[in-house]
């Protein structure tokens, strides 16, 4: 009995020493960014450029989604939460409980392009027509000025920031038809549309490529210039949330993102500069 106790004591000691060795002590300055995969390319490229300038800073960038990012800001496990949607009242309430005061920084603009297969003769749709297609009122292309072909509606998972923005801007929060296909990322939507003749989908402006056709919305082409001008209707702001107005290292980083260099990187990632 005594011996077995001794065995466990020794084991505990071994484990404790092991843990002390494993847990390292960091001297460098750390910054953790987490959240929306839409904002991810911006934070990633800005973080790399920022670390090149400040060798003593270590920035870790993770995806996971807007909800995950904001949840970790509330938990205090990240310094900056990337989000492609504004923070919700419920999340603000939760943050206040934890003594966190979320502060909104607009870091870039994103347009959502409605895309069709390149062989589809439809070049433009009104918001009303887009709504009809997505709610199931129109299920053949000839109902919106196209040829006789079944519409294959492709949507995003209903929790994604892109979906939420699209749902608000184009559908007035009405329900997407239940038989719409669900894809979990911008690339997957573009990929499916490029392979399906009757498909319609929506992606961030940065994901437009020659393999799909972006249609004009209410007569306005989905271009960066039109997003900045504000004439393109399916556009949204991208955010980095911080605890209270940014200070110290967090402020340095946000300032860098908003600097000319940072905004260039955002444009390179397919988004539109704030100014």
């Amino acid at each position: 009995m005594i011996k077995s106790k001794l065995g466990f004591t020794v084991l505990a000691a071994v484990l404790a020493v092991g843990l002390m060795v494993i847990v390292p002590t960091f001297a460098a300055k750390n910054l953790t960014i987490k959240g929306s995969t839409t904002v991810l390319p911006v934070s990633q490229s800005c973080a790399e450029a920022f670390m090149n300038k400040h060798s003593d800073v270590n920035i870790s960038v993770q995806g996971g989604g807007s909800g995950v990012g904001i949840a970790s800001l509330i938990d205090g496990t990240c310094d900056i939460a990337d989000a492609s949607r504004p923070i919700k009242d419920k999340e603000i309430a939760k943050a206040e409980e934890n003594g966190i005061d979320p502060y909104e920084n607009v870091v870039a603009l994103d347009g959502i392009a409605v895309i069709v297969h390149p062989s589809n003769p439809v070049d433009g749709l009104s918001i009303e027509q887009i709504k009809k297609i997505y709610t199931g009122e129109a299920s053949n292309w000839n109902e919106v000025g196209g040829k006789d072909m079944k519409v294959v509606v492709i949507s995003r998972d209903s929790a994604s920031g892109t979906f939420e923005t699209f749902n608000e801007l184009a559908l007035d929060k009405e329900k997407v038809r239940p038989d719409a296909l669900l894809q979990a990322s911008n690339q997957a939507v573009a990929q499916t549309v490029s392979r399906t003749k009757g498909a319609v989908g929506y992606v961030g402006l940065g994901y437009l490529s020659s393999s799909v056709k972006g249609v004009a919305v209410d007569g306005v082409e989905p271009t960066k210039a039109n997003v900045v001008k504000g004439s393109y209707k399916l556009a949204r702001e991208l955010y980095m949330y911080t605890d209270a107005p940014p200070q110290g290292l967090v402020k340095d980083f946000i300032d860098f993102v908003l600097s000319e260099e940072g905004q260039k990187l955002a444009e390179k990632a397919g988004y539109v500069a704030v100014k």
Binding site: G7, I74, K90, S158, G161
Partner: protein
């Protein structure tokens, strides 16, 4: 000194042995703690038998019947592919193949099990789905059928490998006795070897099914993801796993949507648990029958 060393080793290995139990309890508890709150908002039966899944709308609807049916649909579809291929190749390897062929075939089939599921998903999305779309003239190739086909291929190694083990466990004396009384090879196979290994083969099928029902990445990529109650094999469906994978990242922590995803996980856990219990019961009977009982 020697005794102490022995005790330390014993302690370490006891700890390791109990580690998986700790994980199991931890995971189950988390599923319950995070999943049950959704039933405060939606009744249990409304959740299971509800026909529409609109978790982020106002007011939200949490009906997972289309998702459960989506999962079962692709799983049973997968059985239609993996049973003939898996059991058939097990029979071939065990009964007909020569030593050299066997030495090649078995590892090759087992390599199939080592291919990451995302690779199956990618292959299904880029090669199989467009092929099925063109072949059958469908509006879109991402269907329950495509998912079943991919899952069937993925479950084949499980079915084949365990079936082959079951066949090889049939004692030599059984075969010899059968041949000795004048039965030919086919009669020996169908009347003696097959019944003797039937429970092992059933176990392999059920384990293959539980692999298929829990598979996530592949179905997320190839089944299209429409949350509707499926009427044919050639329409898009949304299994439970892909719903969790697609929505968990963006669900607001602590919301009913978040809890409902855990509740889906809980139900999925029960489905695979039932599969595994059935498999265990059958394989126990199988060991007894051959006199290999514990």
């Amino acid at each position: 000194m020697y005794r102490i060393k022995e005790k330390i080793y014993k302690g370490i290995f006891t700890l390791l042995a109990f580690a998986s139990l700790v994980f199991l309890v931890g995971i189950t508890l988390t599923l319950f703690i995070e999943g049950l709150p959704v039933f405060k908002e939606v009744g249990f039966f409304d959740f299971i038998f509800g026909k529409s899944w609109y978790p982020t709308y106002e007011p939200p609807e949490f009906g997972i019947l289309p998702l459960i049916l989506g999962s079962l649909w692709v799983t049973f579809g997968a059985v239609l592919f993996c049973v003939p291929i898996g059991v058939g190749s097990a029979l071939f390897i065990n009964e007909l193949a020569g030593k050299r062929l066997k030495a090649v075939l078995k590892p090759v089939i087992e390599i199939l099990a080592g291919i990451p599921s995302i690779v199956y998903g990618f292959f299904g999305m880029v090669v199989v789905a467009p092929f099925i779309q063109r072949l059958l003239g469908l509006p879109v190739g991402l269907t329950a059928f495509t998912g079943s086909l991919m899952l069937g291929i993925m479950a084949t190694p499980t079915v084949c490998s365990i079936s082959e083990d079951a066949l090889s466990f049939v004692p030599r004396s059984f075969r010899e006795a059968s041949l000795a009384v004048g039965a030919n090879r086919w009669q020996t196979l169908t009347k003696v070897v097959f019944p003797a290994s039937a429970s092992g083969i059933s176990t392999s099928i059920i384990l293959g099914m539980s692999r298929a029902v829990g598979e996530t990445m592949t179905v997320l990529m190839v089944t299209g993801g429409a949350a509707v109650i499926p009427h044919t094999f050639f329409q898009p469906v949304r299994p439970m796993t892909s719903t969790i994978a697609a929505e968990m990242g963006e669900a607001v922590m602590g919301s009913s949507h978040y809890h409902s995803l855990f509740a889906i996980g809980l139900i999925l856990f029960f489905i695979t648990l039932v599969f595994n219990i059935i498999a265990e019961l059958i394989s126990r009977r199988f060991r007894m029958k051959l006199g290999l009982g514990r």
